[in-house]
């Protein structure tokens, strides 16, 4: 490698680091100001304090919102992944007419603006006479999560030899036995990755939750409502910092499980942390 190429490679590295800093610096301001001993979010930093974290822990409404978010995220991630397993299996295992168009429709929520879905779901839920509740948020979040779940699981289903399922049938084991004794153990890392990914997406999602929550806000909705009161803002920053940390940890775990074993292709690994 010549000197010229070496310096060119180094320049590209600097460039990449600058890009990363520009992307993540604003996000790092959140935890920074959550330790700031001042009510206003502006430089200079006045001093370090943990009082916003203490205030946050002493706000029952925030606890309630956090608990709502966890409930919604757990139910959404489990249901979306369950549906994703069947979707991914169908796509990778069976010849069926209209597979292309069906997949297109299933994957559509990835590109349709959430606000469009949120509005239409709101109209629909009211029209069929359902009350807005955590349940309606779960429905909305499942629409968003299912395509991600299917995308993660498809790579897992394609990653193993189809003859393994044939072999199980051949050894006298029926469809259900084959599914639980061969298919599930082999796609299990993908299932865990999908659950974690869907959990993070649901937990961080704001727009759907904003439209579909009644009197029970999820954490992002609650945090948004606090924005109008400047004196409450630092508490929100504290909560936001914790959410970022938890999300990053969960996403790293999801990526770890997704990569375990042999893996290829089509996977949406990063998701916008909707904060």
């Amino acid at each position: 490698m010549g000197m010229e190429q070496q310096s060119k490679g180094r320049m590209l590295q600097y460039y990449a680091w600058v890009a990363i800093v520009i992307i993540y610096l604003p996000v790092l301001l959140l935890p920074l100001f959550s330790f700031n001993d001042g009510r206003y979010i502006a430089f200079p930093i006045r001093g370090l304090t943990l009082k916003w974290y203490i205030e946050m822990f002493n706000t029952p409404a925030m606890h309630k919102a956090l608990w709502n978010s966890i409930q919604v995220a757990v139910v959404t991630s489990v249901l979306a992944t369950a549906i994703g397993i069947f979707g991914a299996k169908a796509v990778t295992r069976y010849r069926m007419p209209g597979k292309g168009p069906v997949m297109f429709i299933v994957m559509l929520p990835l590109v349709i603006p959430t606000i469009v879905f949120g509005t239409s779901l709101l109209i629909f839920v009211r029209w069929i006479g359902l009350d807005l509740s955590l349940f309606s948020i779960i429905i909305g979040h499942m629409i968003i999560c299912i395509p991600f779940s299917i995308a993660v699981l498809i790579s897992r289903f394609e990653g193993f030899d189809r003859a393994l399922e044939d072999a199980a049938a051949d050894l006298g084991v029926g469809a259900a036995g084959t599914f639980f004794r061969v298919t599930m153990p082999l796609v299990w890392p993908g299932v865990i990755a999908s659950v974690l990914l869907c959990f993070v997406i649901s937990f961080d999602e704001f727009i759907m939750a904003f439209f579909l929550s009644g009197s029970e806000p999820t954490l992002p909705v609650y945090m948004y409502s606090r924005m109008r009161f400047p004196q409450k803002l630092p508490g929100v920053l504290a909560m936001g910092s914790l959410v970022i940390m938890a999300s990053v940890v969960i996403l790293i775990l999801a990526e770890f499980f997704r990569r375990r074993g042999q893996d290829r292709g089509i996977v949406a690994s990063g998701t916008g942390l909707g904060i």
Partner: protein, 361 residues
């Protein structure tokens, strides 16, 4: 329809289409009980599809399959008395060797000691003692294959289906496994259906062979018959080495025809049933080992020029051109030729037309 007594597996007029692709085209086949039966053909000829139809992984588009007298169309794969050894071996990667072999035994009402005993017997039958706790990725190709065989045989199938099981092994191991497979089949006595594209392998192992091409069964015969009397040019091209010469039929008698070609002149060839007409074009098939090279002229020899030779250890293949004829060469396989091997050497080609075979297109 009842199957005849000696046919254990009967494939009746089976056609399988995948969309517009005709994978198996009106196949008719009867396999006998206890037979080592091979499906031989180039890749894409439909042999694996036929095997998967027997296993129940695919359903025939039309036609019927009987195994041991039972019609199979409504019997799903997991209820069929068949077991398959896959090309990839399909060892369950999340289970160790013991649990791979035990897979088909669980849920069959066996007590734990019974199950253990069966698995251990199956493993020692395959010389796999001590491998119980290994995973697939800790086994060699040959060991994986033996695990796959043990796993299939422990369920006591009536019919063992083998999908190119030796394809992934190197030559030496493949030859060892061929002998082991043959011995195994004789020991357990169950019917084997073996898919391969390797004609040598099929000839070595099989009691009978079905040669397939483009979804059709071209010929069903013993290895000996197939080698000595291929039914068509397509089969002859596929089985062993063969000189195929374009000839014209010039005279017809009761059980023989006389054919003429530029290279070997006129020859009388015996034919079983004479469906040939005078003036018809046909193919004369001559095995390289049925031709002899001489350094001296004698009666009925042709003057040839040596073009090339290739040494194979147990034999040498000589390629010659008949003098005055360009573009067509003849291969001769001979062990005891002691003359010059310099290309351009003039030699004499001797043959006995009793060994010739006349094929219609």
């Amino acid at each position: 329809m009842k199957t005849t007594d000696d046919s254990f597996v009967e494939i009746q007029d089976v056609t399988k289409r995948f969309g517009s692709v005709l994978a198996v085209d009106q196949a008719d086949l009867a396999i006998r009980r206890g037979e080592f039966f091979s499906l031989l053909g180039p890749s894409g000829c439909g042999k694996t599809t036929l095997l998967r139809l027997l296993a129940g992984f695919e359903a025939p588009t039309t036609g019927a399959i009987y195994i041991d007298g039972d019609e199979m169309s409504t019997v799903p794969a997991f209820r069929r008395p068949t077991s398959m050894v896959f090309q990839s071996y399909a060892i369950f990667p999340h289970l160790d060797v013991f649990n791979n072999v035990a897979f088909g035994l669980r849920g069959k009402g066996l007590s734990s000691p019974e199950l253990k005993q069966k698995v251990h017997d199956a493993l020692s039958g395959m010389k796999l003692d001590g491998f119980e706790n290994r995973r697939a990725n800790q086994l060699s190709g040959g060991q994986r294959q033996r695990v796959a065989l043990a796993r299939s045989l422990v369920t006591e199938p009536k019919l063992l289906l083998l999908d190119e099981p030796l394809g992934a092994l190197d030559k030496k191991l493949r030859e060892e496994m061929q002998i082991e497979l043959r011995q195994l089949q004789q020991r357990v006595g169950i019917t084997f259906v073996f898919v391969t594209h390797d004609q040598e392998e099929a000839l070595t192992l099989s009691d009978r062979i079905a040669v397939m091409n483009e979804g059709q069964i071209l010929q069903v015969a013993t290895p000996h018959e197939l080698y000595e009397r291929p039914a068509s040019r397509a089969v002859a091209e596929f089985i062993g080495q063969m000189n195929l010469l374009e000839v014209e039929v010039v005279d017809i008698e009761a059980d023989s025809v006389t054919v003429s070609c530029p290279t070997l002149g006129e020859n009388k060839v015996s034919v079983g049933s004479s469906s040939f007409r005078c003036g018809q074009r046909a193919t004369l098939a001559v095995r390289p080992e049925n031709l002899v090279l001489d350094t001296e002229v004698s009666e009925g020899t042709a003057r040839v020029e040596l073009k090339a030779s290739a040494y194979y250890g147990n034999t040498t293949i000589y390629r010659v051109a008949v003098e005055g004829i360009t573009g067509e060469t003849i291969d001769i396989s001979q062990q005891d030729y002691r003359g010059s091997t310099t290309p351009g050497t003039i030699l004499w080609l001797r043959w006995d037309s009793a060994n010739f075979l006349l094929l219609s297109e």
